[in-house]
Assembly symmetry: none
């Protein structure tokens, strides 16, 4: 059964407030089998104080053994089954730069490439052309007009950029033009069905004009297209949970993901303290706040154990500023683990802590991986976190009489 | 979502090695409420040493409260949803004697029976005729030829034997001929659809000829047929996991189950030490090894608590020979529990231990039922064990960007 059929049916509107504090990549690993994880190593006076009145659990982002990217990791935390709602590559790339896709938009991830005189690809990344150089080329491509759709061309980084087609009746089942091999000609985009053939036809118009504009560039004299993807159709927070929701994030990707589920984006902000300032400032306007803290993930990706510990301690320090606002439900979790040991996202369950006045404390006095796996919430799929949040906020009525 | 769609999409090929050591029926019960289970009672220096650097969990074979047979128990451990992939009775019986079913084969479980002069069944098991006597009758039945299919008749034990039809377009929806009552006439096999009517027609040809051959036998003068079943269509380990997999088992049933998922069968072997010899000998040739140890189940079925303890200790003793090979992932588990107290398979979660260099040790220093239920893997459905194994072996890429 679709979880949202249930939340729609049972939802209760009240004035309670929920804060979802996501420390990206929170879970970790010890560097040696008998060592401590980053979270175990950190000084956590405020998280441990929450643990005393909260309930913990081990959140499984997707399924046991599956390491999620940021997209499925956050969709699951937002209560959307990450195996059902999949964000195509182009749509995720657009989301990642903060481009607000509208329903029906088709986004494509593009790479500048280098062709030889015979039109064969000799460098699939155009020598990893510098971002500033690439941005200028993107600007030139913005002149292109195609018949039957509005067009957006947006820079990303180095050789990467995003193309968005906004029209009616466009499909996403279009083949990549990147042959994935050096020495081959770029492929033609081909649509699998009628709506997708419309998209492919727009793509061909774009490619033809781009060829002329880029021809004289020494490195980036053409481009390839990958991952044609429609904006995923996600029901919104207001409709499925009855929540006015706001997102407070520094990085465009997380603002983008939040906006896909109908959250309003507050900002701008650069630091965690500024994020909490925004939380306090807008406290009366929303029922639900998603706060995203990036650095527990990026330090893990860098393999920097000590720095990840420090970032967790930084997070711990702002907890009193959040609790001072008296949220009815406060959740601290991550979208996945990012152990410094692995330098990557991982499948390990994420320590999750929920505090409310009716959460049934589980007796733990600390908050980390070893307490979480024995917590009162058990091991649960992340997609159930939102029903737990709503229940603790008194926002779900009884199921059945 | 089908779990194998996910593993196919995410699989990474590398040179890591996974060992799945299955102690059949491993989980147990205390003989008195305050007593210890078989695993708790056993001396386990090597398993406990693994526990210190591993992570444990409680594996639920099918669903809470469901006691599996060997078929679903192993399919789940192999990563196949045991509620989706069902092995029909005839196919399991054939698998159990090591008969290698081919795709499209229909297997039937047969019983010799005794008819009276009016053709009514007076003994549904032909007086549990001795196995040697039965084998001679089976040999006589092997002369039978039917039009439209190849035929295999194989002895099992006492009154039981297996019949396999190998042809094209055969169905399995054929009714049993066993009326399940003494005093009744054997029934005619009836097919529910066109392919199954073809099978039923072959079965009638067989029965007619068998009646003549068996007529003069004082006990086993006829036979009944039950559980017509096609070989289940299971995608193979190579295709769904990218693994070259080998099985090292003593008993035909487990070799048969392993071959259904495309494992190669190594052997012959009779003792656990010989099994480990084979593991060492073929170490370089495969990515995945399934080692099956039968006696923790058979001693449980016998209600012999002390002997089950001894068998667990025997298993513990070979662990150093396995770890000396440095598997990247070593899993010790069972396909279900077989408590001596119950003398049967049971539904109780199975203590499961996974060791890898990135498994996130859960702090346990022992391995048994009481530690497993509080382990870092939580309580999980056995079908997820393979994704966990693959993740720990670095054989699954990230899901979504």
């Amino acid at each position: 059964m679709d979880l949202h059929e249930l939340t729609r049916e049972l939802l209760v509107r009240n004035t309670t407030k929920i804060v979802l504090l996501v420390a990206d990549g929170l879970g970790g690993l010890p560097m040696t089998p008998d060592g401590k994880t980053e979270l175990e190593s950190a000084r956590r006076p405020n998280l441990d104080a929450l643990a005393r009145r909260g309930v913990q659990g081990a959140s499984i982002p997707v399924l046991p053994g599956i390491s999620p990217g940021s997209g499925p990791g956050h969709l699951a935390l937002f209560g959307y089954d990450p195996l059902r709602y999949r964000i195509g590559r182009g749509a995720l790339e657009a989301t990642g730069i903060g481009f607000r896709l509208q329903p029906g938009d088709v986004a494509v991830r593009c790479n500048f490439c280098t062709l030889d005189a015979q039109g064969r690809i000799i460098d699939r990344r155009a020598g990893r052309i510098a971002t500033e150089e690439s941005a200028k080329l993107v600007q030139a491509l913005q002149q292109i007009r195609v018949e039957g759709a509005e067009l957006f061309v947006e820079p990303v980084k180095e050789h990467r950029f995003v193309l968005v087609f906004r029209g009616t009746g466009l499909g996403e089942r279009v083949s990549d033009t990147d042959p994935q091999a050096v020495g081959a000609l770029p492929l033609e985009p081909v649509g699998e069905d009628e709506p997708s053939r419309r998209t492919a036809q727009l793509a061909r118009q774009f490619l033809e004009q781009a060829r002329g504009i880029l021809a004289s560039h020494p490195q980036a004299n053409f481009l390839t297209m990958r991952g044609f993807a429609l904006r995923p159709e996600l029901p919104g927070y207001q409709e499925v949970y009855g929540l006015r929701a706001a997102a407070i994030a520094v990085y465009p990707m997380y603002k983008g993901l939040a906006s896909l589920v109908g959250m309003e984006i507050l900002g701008p902000c650069q630091t965690l303290d500024e994020q909490i300032d925004l939380l306090a400032k807008h406290w009366q306007e929303y029922d639900f706040f998603f706060i995203h803290f990036k650095y527990t993930d990026s330090t893990g990706e860098d393999g920097n154990f000590e720095e990840k510990v420090r970032r967790i301690e930084q997070l711990d320090e702002v907890i009193p500023r959040i609790t001072a606002l008296h949220p009815d439900v406060l959740i601290v979790t991550g979208d996945h683990s990012t152990p410094s040991f692995l330098r990557s996202h991982s499948w390990h369950p994420v320590p999750t802590l929920l505090v409310s006045n009716c959460c049934r404390p589980d007796g733990h006095t600390e908050f980390h991986e070893k307490t979480a796996i024995r917590g009162g919430l058990g091991h649960f799929e992340a997609k159930y976190l939102m029903t737990l949040a709503l229940a603790n906020a008194g926002r779900l009525s009884k199921f059945g009489a």
